[in-house]
Structure formats: structure tokens, C-alpha cells
Amino acid sequence: MYGGGNVFEATKFDDLQTEDPAKLAEFEARIARGEKIEPNDWMPQLYRKQLIRMIEQHAHSEIIGALPEGTWITRAPGFRRKMAQMAKVQDEVGHAQLLYSAAETLGKTREQMLTDLINGKSKYSNVFNYPAFTWADSNIISWLIDAGAIVNQMANAKGSYGPYSRALERICAEEAFHLKYGHDAVVHMATGSPKQREMIQAALNRWWPPIMTFFGPSDKMSTHTETLMRWKVKMASNDECRQQFLDMYVPKIWELGLTVPDPNLKKNMETGQWEYTEPDWDEFKRVINGDGPCNAERLAVRRTAEERGAWVRRALLNPKAKYVKPLA
């Protein structure tokens, strides 16, 4: 699962004039040759900052994204579904661990990242601020949110930073099961009783607007964006990811006789592009800044878990321990 929709804001490090020109040229030449950057290499401040921000948000999205699905483990219908749901949630939490480590190699500690998550300073994917009312909501998340995540992650796995690519390779391999599991669950409901069909359609209606915002607003094509694309930090535009997602999954929704709650959604055969009602970006901004139906609950649950485990961590801590950031 993934926190898509990265908004790459300009930072004070945008000014590349302050970087050593010889080192910058060497760095850019390495990326142009298709080589990966490893943690000890020289890198521009902008590259480091944007990667930390992006990988950290991705990690937070994995750990927070496990919450709406996690609440359905005990209520999943049947033993086999409980086991599968549990395995999926465990994978998501494992992905967070891999990603926190990748971000750590760039110099931000896991302690700092967790503090920033709980205090609302760092973001996570906005879709997880919405509630999963029924088992069908959980199915839609497993299928379509993970599908969106895979579109994003497959692109990012080809990025230039070694540790992030290594983590994503592993994550993508594990996600293959999530997608099939989610699809299977949705197909089961959609081809089941009238009540089951009604439930899955209602869940799809609830989740469609957040799904359309999943990849984030259209990118402003700025020098900043161009730089990040040249450095292979940003691998595809938000709109490209959204189009790819629609191309792959709208037909799969329609073949089940389900409808998408957007009367304007259609593929323009001339341009090859999907047309749709512009998502409500004001709501997106409001929710991402804290005012969504589940923001407070997600952070409170995370904070409580941290607080309740604190005494165990203190008891286990070796007094001679010394922090060294992970190698790769």
C-alpha cells in the first residue's frame, strides 16, 4: 500500500547555486548513466530533503493504512479470510519498517519520523482519513487502493536512490498477493447475493472520490519538478499515474456490472485519455490538514500503541547501545 499523491513543494534548497558545481555535475552524470545513488555518495540538499519526505510519507502511509483494514480482522467473514486479512496487514506494517530504514539512511532517525507522524507534522496518504464502514469497504481498499499503490510503486522502484529501490522491489513482490486477494474479495461480493452486490456498490461509491485524489493534484510543471524528474526522484506525473490506474481498473469494475459514481467518466478514444469530474481538491486539502473523519482516530491509535509499548522498549534497551544509521 502506498501514500500516493506526493505534492512536491519548493523548498529553500531549491537553489542549486549553493551546491558545489563539480560535485553536482558528477552526481547528475551518475544518474544520467543509469547508476543508482547509495547512502554515502555526495548528494544535493534538495535531493536528500525530497527523498526523506517522500519515503517517510510512504512509510507512514503503510503503518496508518494498516489501521482501517486491521479493524476488520476480527470481523472478517470466516477463518480463511481472517487469516488472509491478517497476513496482508502484517505485510503493510513490514513495509513501513523497510521504508523507515530506507529513509534513515538519508539521515532522519526513526524516532524523529515517528514523533513527526504522531504530532501531525508529517503526512500520510489522505485516503486513510476515511472510515471503512463495512467489510465491503475493506475489500475496496484491498483491491483498488492497493492497485493505485502498485502503479505508484512500480514507477518509483525505477528511481535513482538505491535503498528505496531495494525496499520497493521487495514491497512490490509482496503486494502481488494483496491485489489478487482484494480482487477476489470484490468479485465474491459482486457475483454474490443482491445484498452483497448492494454492499460492494455502496462501498465503491464511498471510496471513489478519495481514490481519485489518491495520486494527488495535477503537477505544476516547474523547474523544481523538472529537476526532480531529471534526478529520478519523481518518476511519473500524478496525472500519468491516475490515467494508468483508470486504464487498468475501470474495465475490471465495469465487467462486474458495477458502476462508477462519476457520470463524466469516459475514455476519450481520440486522445486515449480518461475524462472525469475534477476531484474536490478543497476537501482534499482540508482533510490532509487534519479535518477529516478519521484523522484524530488514526493518530490517537498510533500514539497509544507507542505509549503502551514504551516501558517494554525502555526495559530492553542496552545501556551501552549506540545509534548507527543503517548501511544500505
Binding site: 479493524t71 526513526r110 471503512a132 477476489d184 465474491h188 474495465p251 484524530a296 491509535v301 522498549r313
Partner: protein, 210 residues
């Protein structure tokens, strides 16, 4: 007022409704880091899989097993504290780091030679793989030995050196811990076959993808 959730277990926690700010977490709240290596199948070289955070070596091993062997074939795991691993500079792809670095004089030597494990990275972005074990009285001597024994076949862009005594290795007699029970097929994509259901549904209801 306490927080009301759709999940009754969350509601029962009686959490405050407002967002609380926490003090910054203390250093090492998340423990030290260890690096983990796995063996995919019998006879294959141990390969780097990633870090774990843990309070000690044994817990690091358990975390690494859970994190890195849970989903894929694995017949062995090694863990070593990050602090104990010495790292050479990285070269460009296609080069051999042994040809380019100057090996410094060791600050100290052990009285008796001891075993060191050597890991090579062949290409940036890939994972370090175990090249072999050498006997030496210092990290520097271990590197020189490694160059003689394993350094000819380039490219090698980076080398990790760690004393064998600092690596916790899974034991031969514990091999059965890697056996995955077949009932866990629900974790594999291949266990989900939906096409039959979809085809049947489409035939009965005449839906199309367009």
C-alpha cells in the same frame, strides 16, 4: 468526550478526542540497527536483505526472520550489528574498488588471526553478497586477503568486512524453522483464481468491460 470509532475496540480505549502533542522521542527509543542477510536456497551465497532495529542480537535475528523470511523461500539468516561492519568507499559501476583504494595501516592488530566475513556489491542498487571468509589480524589485513582471494573477478563497487564472531548465524540443526506449512497458500497470489467467477458472471449477465 472520548473518541468514538466504528471499531468498538478503539472506542473502548477511551482515547481523548483532541490531538495530543508528544515530547520528541528519545534517542534509541527504537533501538540499535542490525543488518540482515538471507540464504535463498541451499548452497546459495548469503545476500543482504536490509536492516532491522532491535535491542540485542537474538531479537534482531527474530525480527529479521519475521521481516525477511516470512513471505519468501529462505533457508538461513545472518545478522550483524551495523556498528560492527566496516565499509569501503563506493566506486562507479563497472569498476573494482580493490584496484582503487589505498589500504591504511591498522590502528591495532589481534594477537591471533581471526575469521572475517567479506561481502561484495557488484552493481549499485543491487544487494551485497557473501564472497567468503578470510583469516586476518585486522580489518585492513582482512581486506588485503579478500583482494587476493576474491578480488580478481570485478566489477566490485563496494566491500563490507565484519568479524565472524560478530555475525549471528542460523544453525544447521535448526533448519526446520524455515519450513513453511502448506496451509499458508492464502498468502500467495496464485491461490486466488477469480477468472472462472468473472466469466460465469459475464455470461449470465451480458456485461462487458466497455
Amino acid at each position: 468526550m472520548s473518541l468514538k470509532s466504528l471499531d468498538p475496540r478503539v472506542t473502548r480505549l477511551n482515547l481523548p478526542e483532541e490531538v495530543l502533542i508528544i515530547e520528541p522521542k528519545q534517542e534509541l527509543d527504537q533501538f540499535e540497527t542490525y543488518e540482515a542477510f538471507h540464504q535463498k536456497k541451499e548452497g546459495a551465497a548469503y545476500t543482504y536483505v536490509g536492516p532491522v532495529h532491535a535491542p540485542n542480537e537474538d531479537v534482531a535475528f527474530l525480527f529479521a526472520k519475521e521481516q525477511y523470511s516470512r513471505r519468501f523461500a529462505c533457508v538461513g539468516i545472518w545478522v550483524a550489528r551495523t556498528e560492527h561492519i566496516q565499509v569501503t568507499p563506493y566506486t562507479n559501476d563497472g569498476e573494482n574498488v580493490y584496484d582503487m583504494m589505498r589500504v591504511e595501516e591498522p590502528a591495532g592488530r589481534s594477537e591471533q588471526p581471526e575469521a572475517y566475513e567479506i561481502f561484495h556489491l557488484k552493481k549499485r542498487g543491487k544487494a551485497h553478497a557473501h564472497a567468503g571468509r578470510v583469516m586476518a589480524t585486522s580489518y585492513q589485513e582482512a581486506l588485503q586477503e579478500a583482494r587476493k582471494q576474491y578480488g580478481e573477478k570485478g566489477p566490485i563497487v563496494n566491500v563490507w568486512v565484519v568479524k565472524s564472531k560478530h555475525v549471528l548465524q542460523s544453525a544447521e540443526e535448526d533448519k526446520d524453522m524455515w519450513t513453511t506449512i502448506p496451509e499458508k497458500k492464502y498468502r500467495e497470489a496464485i491461490a486466488y483464481r477469480v477468472m472462472d467467477k468473472i466469466t460465469k458472471y459475464k455470461e449470465e449477465n451480458q456485461t462487458t468491460a466497455q
